[in-house]
C-alpha cells in the first residue's frame, strides 16, 4: 500500500469517526451550545488579562494593544485549529494506561487518525471563534500599510500555525507512549506555547526566544511573519526572508512529529489484561 492511499485512508477514517462524534454531540444541542460558549469565555480570559494590563499602560514590550491583539489573534486562532483537529490526541496517555489503545490497534485504520478523531469535540470551535474575533478586531484597529504580500501572509500564518501546533500535539502524543502519567508535560508546550506567542518577543529573555526559534520553532507561527506585517525588527535579527519560512517550518515540524509518532507507536507495550 502506497503512502498516498494510506493518507487517503487515514483521512477517511478521521472523517467517519469525527462525524460520529459530532452526531453524538448534537444529540444534546443545548449542552453543546453552553459548553461552546463556556469555552469562548474561558479562553477569552487570556485576552481579558491583556486588556487589564493595557488599562494601566499604553505599550507592552514596545508593542501597542492592536499589535498585541494581532499576535494574540494569530496564536489563538491557529492553536484553535490544531486543538479542534487533533487536540484529542492529548488523551492518549489515558488510553495507554487503561489498555484501550489495543482496540484502536486492531482496527483496519491508521492509529493516528483514530487517536486524533477520538471524542472529536466540536465545541472547540469556541476557541477558534474567540481568536478570530480578536484577530478581526486587530486587523481593523491596526495602522499598517497593507500590501498584497502582507494580506496574503495572514491566512498563510493561520494555516502554517495550525499545522505547526498540530505537529506539537502529535509529538506530545508520541511522548505519552513513554511518559503515560506525565501527560501534563504536553500542556507546557501546547497551551504554554500558545500563551507565549500571545505576547511580543521583545518581552521575553533572549535565551527563551532563541529556544522557541531554533530548537522548538514556535516563533514561526506568528512572531517572525507578524514582524514583517507590522514592520517591526525581527526577533534575534533574523534575515528578511525568514518571514516567509513558515510553510517550510511547518513541513519540517510534521516530518519530525511523524518520526516521533512512529518511534512512539513502535515502542508501545500493552498493559495486558
Amino acid at each position: 500500500m502506497g503512502e498516498k492511499s494510506r493518507a487517503r485512508e487515514g483521512l477517511r477514517a478521521y472523517r467517519l469517526i469525527a462525524g460520529m462524534w459530532i452526531r453524538s454531540t448534537m444529540a444534546y444541542r443545548l449542552s453543546f451550545a453552553m459548553t461552546a460558549f463556556g469555552g469562548v469565555v474561558v479562553t477569552g480570559l487570556d485576552f481579558v488579562a491583556i486588556l487589564l494590563m493595557f488599562s494601566q499602560v499604553d505599550v507592552l514590550g514596545g508593542y501597542t494593544l492592536p499589535e498585541i491583539a494581532f499576535l494574540y489573534g494569530l496564536s489563538a486562532t491557529s492553536f484553535g485549529f490544531a486543538d479542534l483537529a487533533i487536540g484529542s490526541a492529548g488523551r492518549l496517555g489515558a488510553r495507554v494506561r487503561d489498555g484501550t489503545l489495543d482496540t484502536l490497534l486492531v482496527r483496519p485504520a491508521p492509529v493516528l487518525a483514530q487517536v486524533a478523531a477520538d471524542r472529536f469535540a466540536l465545541r472547540r470551535i469556541g476557541r477558534i471563534t474567540q481568536g478570530a474575533l480578536v484577530l478581526g478586531g486587530a486587523l481593523v484597529a491596526l495602522d499598517v500599510d497593507w500590501t498584497p504580500v502582507k494580506v496574503l501572509l495572514v491566512p498563510v500564518m493561520l494555516v502554517c500555525g495550525g499545522v505547526i501546533f498540530s505537529a506539537v500535539f502529535v509529538a506530545g502524543a508520541a511522548f505519552q507512549f513513554v511518559a503515560q502519567d506525565a501527560s501534563e508535560v504536553q500542556a507546557a508546550f501546547t497551551y504554554g506555547g500558545q500563551t507565549l506567542l500571545q505576547y511580543p518577543p521583545t518581552v521575553f529573555g533572549k535565551e527563551l526566544v532563541r529556544g522557541v526559534t531554533f530548537m522548538f520553532p514556535l516563533a514561526f507561527v506568528n512572531w517572525v511573519p507578524a514582524a514583517y506585517v507590522l514592520g517591526r525588527p525581527y526577533p534575534l535579527g533574523l534575515p528578511e526572508w525568514a518571514a516567509f519560512a513558515p510553510p517550510l517550518v511547518a513541513v519540517a515540524c510534521c516530518a519530525s512529529a511523524g518520526l516521533a509518532w512512529r518511534a512512539g507507536l513502535r515502542s508501545y507495550r500493552s498493559t495486558g489484561s
Binding site: 494601566q56 499604553d58 503515560q180 501534563e184 504554554g192 505576547y199 521575553f204
Partner: protein, 266 residues
C-alpha cells in the same frame, strides 16, 4: 477524640493518594515552571512600563507569579480537587453511601481535600517556587514570624478554596451534569484569585470588587502577607470570615439537598 482521628486518617489518605502519582507530579512541576517563566516575563514588561503598579515593585510582582504557580494546584484555583469526584458520586447516586457513613459529608471531604492540598503544596509547590527564587530577583522576608503567618494564610486559603468548591459540587444535586458549574468555577477561580493579574493591579471599582470577594483570600492574601504588604491579623480575619460564611452556606445547601432531593439510581 474519635472523630478527630477519623478526619486525620481521611486527610492522610488524601495526601497519600496524590503522592502515589509521582510522574504526574513531576510533570505538573515542569508545567508550572514553564508557565511561571512565561508569566514572569510579561509581568516584568508590565512593571517596567508602570513601576509600582498596584503598590508592588518588580521583585514583588515576580514573587507573586511564582507564588501563584506554587499555590495553583494546592488551592485548585481552576478546579481539579475533590469536586469532580463528589459530583460524579452525586450523579451516579453513590453519594447515598457517603450520607449514611458515620461521618459528616462536609467534614469528610474537607479533610480529604486538605490532605490533597498539603501534598500538592510540598510536591508541586516547592520546586517551581524555589526555581523562581533562584533565577529571578524576588522579595522574600527573612524573619520566621512572617513565614509562619504566611503558612497560616495558606491553610486558611485551603479552607476557603474547599468551601467554594463544595458549594459547586453540591449544585450537582440539582443540575446533575456539572460541566457548566465547573466552567464557572474555572473562570471565577482564574480571574478573581489573581492568576491573570494581581488583584491590586486591577483598575478602579473592578479592583475594589474583586478584592472583597472570597477568591481574594486564595492567592492575594498569602502573597500580601508574605511580602509585608498586608498585616497578618486583618488578613486572617478576612479569610476566616469568608471560610465561616461559605462553610455555613455549604452546610445549609447540604441539608436542603439531602432532605429534598431524591438520590439517583436504584
Amino acid at each position: 477524640m474519635g472523630s478527630a482521628r477519623l478526619y486525620a486518617a481521611v486527610a492522610a489518605g488524601g495526601f497519600r493518594r496524590y503522592a502515589t502519582y509521582r510522574a504526574a507530579t513531576a510533570a505538573g512541576v515542569f508545567t508550572n515552571t514553564v508557565f511561571g517563566l512565561i508569566l514572569v516575563y510579561t509581568y516584568l514588561a508590565l512593571w517596567d512600563e508602570r513601576p509600582h503598579l498596584g503598590g508592588y515593585d518588580q521583585a514583588q510582582a515576580v514573587t507573586f507569579v511564582w507564588l501563584g504557580q506554587a499555590l495553583y494546584a494546592t488551592l485548585a484555583i481552576q478546579g481539579g480537587g475533590f469536586e469532580t469526584e463528589l459530583m460524579e458520586r452525586i450523579r451516579t447516586g453513590d453519594v447515598a453511601i457517603d450520607l449514611y457513613r458515620p461521618a459528616d459529608l462536609q467534614m469528610w471531604w474537607l479533610a480529604n481535600d486538605v490532605g490533597r492540598a498539603l501534598f500538592q503544596l510540598l510536591g508541586r509547590g516547592v520546586i517551581p517556587f524555589a526555581f523562581g527564587v533562584l533565577v529571578f530577583p524576588t522579595a522574600l522576608p527573612d524573619d520566621a514570624g512572617t513565614w509562619l503567618a504566611f503558612l497560616v494564610t495558606v491553610l486558611l486559603a485551603m479552607v476557603v478554596s474547599f468551601a467554594i468548591r463544595f458549594l459547586v459540587a453540591l449544585s450537582g444535586f440539582w443540575l446533575l451534569d456539572g460541566t457548566g458549574a465547573l466552567q464557572v468555577l474555572m473562570v471565577t477561580g482564574i480571574f478573581c484569585s489573581g492568576m491573570t493579574l494581581p488583584l491590586n493591579a486591577f483598575p478602579g471599582p473592578l479592583g475594589d470588587i474583586v478584592r472583597a470577594l472570597p477568591w481574594a483570600a486564595q492567592l492575594q492574601m498569602p502573597a500580601d502577607v508574605l511580602m509585608g504588604e498586608a498585616d497578618p491579623l486583618p488578613a486572617f480575619a478576612f479569610q476566616a470570615a469568608w471560610a465561616v460564611v461559605l462553610l455555613a452556606a455549604g452546610r445549609l445547601v447540604q441539608s436542603a439537598a439531602t432532605r429534598r432531593v431524591v438520590v439517583q439510581g436504584g
